[in-house]
Amino acid sequence: MNALRLPVRRAGASTGAPLVNPWAALAMPVLVFLVVCFLVPLIVMGMRAVTDLPSDAGGDVLVNFRRFFEGEANVRVLGNTFWVAVLSTLTCLAIGYPYAYLMTVASPRWTGILLIAVLVPFWSSLLVRTYAWQVILRDTGLINSTLIGWGLIAEPLDLYQTTTAVILGMTHVLLPFMVLPLFTTMSRIDPELTKAAANLGATPARAFLRVFLPLSVPGVLSGSLLVFVLALGFYITPALLGSPKDTMLSAFIATRVQQQLDWGLASAMALVLIGVTLAVLFVASRFIRVRDVFGALESD
């Protein structure tokens, strides 16, 4: 998990020096919590995938996985899940990076206001926000009725139940998870460095591209990783705002769990999603390693 290493290593540098640190005991409750609430259920789920078999399985322990991959829609939806997650990560990055940068350079008062603005969505429920997008995007919704009212368009724009609507809704929810890590990283970059670059003759654009941007990469990586992994698990937003083509795998898993009580197949589906996610992260970590150098520069 090289992708995770950059932020983790910095945290470790301040606390990890003595071999046995008494403060480490403070991590025990978290550790116990993770084992009981995450690791154990994960193992139970893994067991379920190979033991909770349909009656006609005939001892074939992999039958649930076979059922998953034989379903034409399943594989398509798995691919779509990753595509939507990638798109929302990129959108969050495109909006979140300039926003976090603005927070870094603004006066403390404005930084506070911008911080509150990005956190406000957390105060209302996911469902309320998603339904609000429906009201805005529908043929009879706010945007279309306004544009038609002004005579700008004759027929309503196709907004509701499109991939664009899904990305809008998901970006709205996920943006704080991109902005906060970015802001944390950026606010730690010494402003004198950019000034030094300017003194040495760099244009503002060049100083940004060669000095600030590389130093902010750890924030970009951790923010993107957080948003990407969270996006993989979405299903309400795509179901309410997207077309059936935007269905995410979690929606299929939910149907199996809630309606069909087919927990064996649901577990297999979840494991496939986890497995493919880990594979993607592994590949990404290989790719990202090239840039490790920036992280190294920063911590030295």
Binding site: E72, A73, N74, R76, N80, A239, S243, Q258, Q259, Q260
Partner: protein, 366 residues
């Protein structure tokens, strides 16, 4: 035909229910009921008392559960002393989790038509048909582990502003974009009626729907695919048809009713080719209150009590002898049954879900 004795008993109970709903007031008909009921004295009018007992009742919340509360739970508490604890989050998965973990909290659960057949035998108690009057329940709506408590229709609703005064006569008109321009609302769930409606639109008789010709249904749906707006919840369907976002929608009749009467929107229901279906009472296996749960279910499905829910929501009785309030009768699915009415084959839909849903999802995500 209703026998004379039952008619008498019935009118008595209408009185009882009315008294229970209002506050106080004399129930002048009470004593004749006791004598007339005679030997059958009677779970319907005098269920056994259990002071200090609590039953946990799980249903789907909202106006629906309010109607169940005032129609059944509160009157039953007055009669028997049984108090109710409620959950508004009924879910098949929760029943399974409770039974498998050996920690059964729910005693009586209101579930949809996709649950409670023999496939779920390991999760449910067999119902006590010595108490529950199976012969009075609509044919096919009572089986080993479940008995229907309310009936509803999956129907065609249309926005009269969008249909310009024309009335769609059935699902063929729903699929006729030339005759009725505009978008169409459908539930994004493979075994909720969408395939059956496509087949009826294509000319299949309501009695010949099963086994489903899935490919034929999907080919028919393909003809309107670009005009479909998919919904996931009853609230969404009500909003879509009320706002005119869609000209017509498949809808649960209670939601169509709310669009018209609660929201005041120009919405009408076409009862032709409705699918009549039900919610069911089940008792999770291993509940410590099994006996009292059975008594309550028997009481709530009696002719005298079963229609009480229809007072507040247009979901109809399942007991053939129940007499709902005449004011709501026109809005109930059971009152609008005719020779075009279809019924789900729940066992078929459950047994073949993998194939049906697999094909449906493959078509949807194309």
């Amino acid at each position: 035909m209703v026998r004379v004795g039952r008619t008498v008993a019935f009118s008595v109970v209408v009185g009882l229910v009315a008294t229970a709903c209002s506050t106080g007031g004399g129930g002048p008909a009470e004593s004749p009921a006791a004598t007339d009921g005679g030997s059958t004295a009677d779970i319907c009018t005098a269920p056994p008392k259990h002071e200090g007992t609590t039953l946990t009742f799980a249903s789907f919340g909202g106006v629906y559960q309010e109607a169940q509360r005032s129609g059944w739970l509160e009157p039953y508490s007055k009669l028997t002393g049984v108090t109710f604890q409620e959950s508004e989050e009924s879910s098949n998965a929760t029943i399974k989790a409770q039974v498998e973990s050996g920690n059964v909290e729910w005693d009586v659960v209101d579930v949809g038509n996709d649950f409670g057949l023999d496939g779920n035998a390991d999760l449910l108690e067999p119902l006590d048909y010595n108490l529950i009057k199976k012969d009075e329940i609509i044919e096919g709506f009572a089986s080993t582990y479940r008995v229907a408590d309310i009936t509803y229709g999956v129907v065609l609703a249309y926005n009269t502003d969008k249909t310009a005064g024309k009335v769609p006569e059935g699902w063929a008109d729903f699929f006729d974009l030339a005759k009725f321009p505009g978008k169409r609302g459908l539930w994004k769930y493979s075994t909720g009626g969408v395939l059956e409606f496509a087949l009826m639109a294509d000319g299949v008789a309501p009695g010949d729907l099963y086994p489903l010709d899935i490919d034929r249904a999907l080919a028919k749906l393909d003809t309107i695919k670009d005009e479909i707006v998919w919904w996931n919840s009853g609230a969404e369907s009500q909003e879509l048809i009320g706002s005119g976002e869609v000209a017509m929608s498949m809808i649960w009749n209670g939601r169509g009713y709310s669009a018209k009467h609660t929201d005041g929107k120009p919405v009408e229901i076409q009862w032709n080719q409705q699918i009549l279906t039900a919610d069911y009472f089940v008792v999770p296996k291993g509940t410590p209150n099994k006996q009292i749960a059975m008594e309550f279910i028997a009481w709530a499905t009696c002719a005298e009590n079963n229609a009480a829910v229809s007072e507040k929501i247009p979901y109809g009785p399942t007991n053939k002898n129940a007499k709902p309030n005449p004011a709501v009768v026109p809005d109930l699915a059971v009152s609008n049954v005719n020779d075009t009415t279809a019924y789900f084959d729940d066992a078929y839909l459950i047994d073949n879900f993998d194939e049906i849903d697999g094909k449906f999802q493959a078509w949807l995500t194309q």
